[in-house]
Assembly symmetry: C2
Homo-oligomer: 135 residues x 2
């Protein structure tokens, strides 16, 4: 049985799926880096704890935002991939980046911020190209 939404508002529904401190960071890592393993996520600068990461990956998988595949060359590894639906979050992530970089000093360079604001669609296109082979 699937968890009930708080309301039928599209914003509320989105937050039911990704409205926590970690889910969108997992999606971010996949968008920018391609398919990743468990320990790849652990290496991100925010330092997610393994139990939290397990819980987020399971939740994203059961919401059909990511899938899990055995790594062929190393049987210990799982490969986590975005689904089409997860990849569609590229627009959300890029919009959030625009908003943050407008008001806060971030790791982005001035050139990157300029590109983000003048051609956000290009950044989304790069992410889509990166994932094209896996969908």
């Amino acid at each position: 049985m699937t968890k009930q939404h708080r309301s039928s508002c599209p914003v509320s529904i989105a937050l039911d799926l990704i409205g926590d401190r970690w889910s969108l960071l997992v999606v971010r890592d996949l968008l920018f880096r391609g398919p990743l393993s468990f320990s790849d996520f652990e290496g991100s600068p925010e330092g997610i704890a393994p139990n939290i990461l397990t819980a987020r990956l399971r939740a994203l998988e059961s919401s059909s935002l990511i899938t899990r595949h055995r790594n062929e060359s190393d049987g210990r590894r799982w490969e986590y991939r975005l689904t089409t639906r997860g990849l569609d979050l590229a627009d959300v992530v890029v919009t959030l980046m625009q908003w943050s970089s407008r008001y806060e000093q971030t790791i982005l360079t001035a050139d990157e911020v300029a590109l983000l604001n003048s051609a956000p669609g290009e950044m989304v296109a790069v992410m889509r190209a990166r994932w094209k082979a896996y969908l």
Copy 2:
């Protein structure tokens, strides 16, 4: 002293400010309805509890996403308003709505979904127009 960010990633910084189950719903209500009182938020369909609402409003205020003003005609009421920075979240909220309505049945009509996808900037413009007098 201001709370430390988990990292300098713009996505992470945004989530430090609005990455919880309620903040963006408060912003949504303001974007769509204009200045609101405490009980206006309590009337939204998700049913936020008063202690949570107090905490969210205080946090959004100290992040400079909203401001608080005495209602002139009724001294019991506070009026909560978006700042320029809070209003800039219109793009994020509209993008989230697009994403949700692509995959889930929401309260939006087919016409509204069509408009949202063909001219998302119009919805943002309506929100900006609504807030123009308060900034």
